[in-house]
């Protein structure tokens, strides 16, 4: 790594802090950027700064937004009786892409993770309770990930919300659409069996 001019070394160093980027990838990105036109690189640099300066978490649902409350929370057409709880803003976007869901969201900004020492106090759980206490919500959909952390989070929230007397549901887990039964592992298959329903 010796003999890089200081600005190059600095950029490599900075890029390495991004998730999933190691020293080799950071070098490749740096030399890629060096070859691009200056306007293109400036556009990238400015959008990086703009994200930090203009984007905040919505004070209601904790989605990322450039206005608070966010467009989803401000939209009177969204059904306030159904609240979908997700781990991250990306999960909210994935739900929105389905076009199926017309309710509102709550982003926890994480999931419970014992091995990382992440407990309920590190998530937007208290804020969720405050929202639910306002009494508009009739159903909470727990749409956390189907892994150990997401399941633990759903389990915790289900227990926490029980005394509120709301309908609490968990999204179905099982086989991916287009998947093949033969290649499914036993855990996925048993979850799919558990989540079976009447047909016809």
């Amino acid at each position: 790594m010796a003999y890089y001019p200081e600005p190059v070394a600095r950029l490599i160093e900075a890029l390495q802090r991004l998730p999933g980027v190691g020293p080799k990838t950071a070098q490749r990105m740096t030399f890629f950027l060096l070859k691009r036109p200056v306007e293109e690189v400036r556009e990238l640099a400015e959008s990086l700064v703009a994200v930090k300066e203009r984007i905040v978490y919505c004070g209601t649902c904790f989605n990322v937004t450039d206005q608070d409350p966010c467009r989803l929370c401000a939209d009177p057409a969204r059904d306030a009786r159904v609240l979908c709880v997700v781990e991250e803003p990306n999960d909210l976007l994935a739900m929105e892409r389905t076009g199926e869901f017309r309710g509102r969201y709550h982003v926890l900004l994480g999931a419970l993770s014992p091995l990382d020492g992440i407990g309920p106090d590190d998530l937007k759980v208290r804020e969720l309770l405050l929202r639910l206490e306002q009494g508009e919500t009739a159903e909470v959909i727990l749409a956390t990930n189907p892994n150990v952390e997401g399941e633990a989070t759903a389990l915790y929230l289900a227990k926490l919300l029980r005394p509120l007397g709301l309908r609490v549901t968990r999204i179905a887990r099982g086989l991916p659409v287009g998947g093949d039964l033969e290649y499914a592992d036993q855990v996925t298959l048993s979850k799919a069996l558990e989540g079976r329903r009447e047909i016809g």
Partner: protein
């Protein structure tokens, strides 16, 4: 170098790159090892749910010899320990056990007795009425297996024979009142606690699991947490998780 295989338990993972996963295992044949599972984060990955925390399986890996990261070829589930994911207390105690194994062992350090203890403990946790009891049994035996067995027959400071009044537990074993004061970091332990530690390590695993601890359960759990934290060099992460999650349990439906 080359192809390797071993029974192994998933003890952790983190995402890397677009869709890969770095997975840590505690394996029977190679101790703690880490490898990359290509495309494991895709919804239709060939690994499916196999790489979830605590899963016991048959691991087939390739050692390129060029990095400490192996390439994970296959991981076929032998036992998913799904029961651990349906109860927060069981999950917390299983995570505590896994954290002890992870943080008290070095990479590639084969330790069949510890591997067997890990699997036995996870299996017991799956059906345990009192998950913390299993964690206590694990903790006592884990110290034995790793050679950190605390001496319980004499004071570790002055060599005075136990029993004596107001014993404490230090890094090396039981301490008398004066030596505990000098050591500074010893935790008081009840005479019943000392006897229970002795009993738990002398009896068979099944007997240890079956013998009720009553009031001593909480005391021993806290002592073992302090002891493990001392060996690790900082408090366990899972200890905090367990405390936070427990606030829900004492009064059913209670709120934080």
């Amino acid at each position: 170098m080359g192809l390797g295989r071993s029974a192994a338990v998933v003890i952790g993972s983190f995402p890397i790159g677009e869709s890969d996963l770095v997975v840590s295992f505690y394996s029977r044949e190679h101790g703690k090892i880490r490898g990359v599972a290509k495309a494991a984060r895709r919804a239709r990955s060939r690994f499916g749910g196999a790489l979830e925390l605590f899963t016991l399986g048959e691991l087939v890996f390739f050692d390129t010899g060029r990095s400490d990261l192996l390439r994970i070829d296959h991981f076929d589930i032998v036992r998913p320990f799904g029961g651990l994911r349906e109860d927060l207390e069981a999950l917390g105690q299983a995570a505590w056990i896994v954290e002890c194994v992870t943080r008290l062992t070095a990479d590639h350090d084969r330790h069949v007795a510890l591997y067997a203890l890990l699997v036995r403990s996870l299996r017991a946790l799956e059906t345990a009425d009192r998950p913390v009891h299993v964690a206590v049994c694990f903790g006592v035996r884990c110290l034995e297996v790793l050679g950190h067995r605390p001496r319980l027959d004499v004071c570790g400071g002055c060599g005075r024979a136990y029993p004596f009044a107001r014993p404490a537990l230090g890094a090396g074993g039981v301490l008398c009142e004066r030596c505990a004061r000098e050591a500074g970091d010893a935790t008081p332990i009840s005479p019943g606690g000392v006897a229970a530690l002795e009993r738990l390590r002398a009896t068979s695993w099944e007997e240890a699991l079956a013998s009720p601890l009553g009031r001593l359960e909480g005391e021993l759990a806290a002592l073992l947490e302090a002891h493990m934290s001392g060996l690790i060099g900082q408090p366990t992460r899972t200890g905090r998780f367990v405390r936070e999650v427990r606030r829900l349990s004492p009064a059913p439906g209670g709120r934080p």
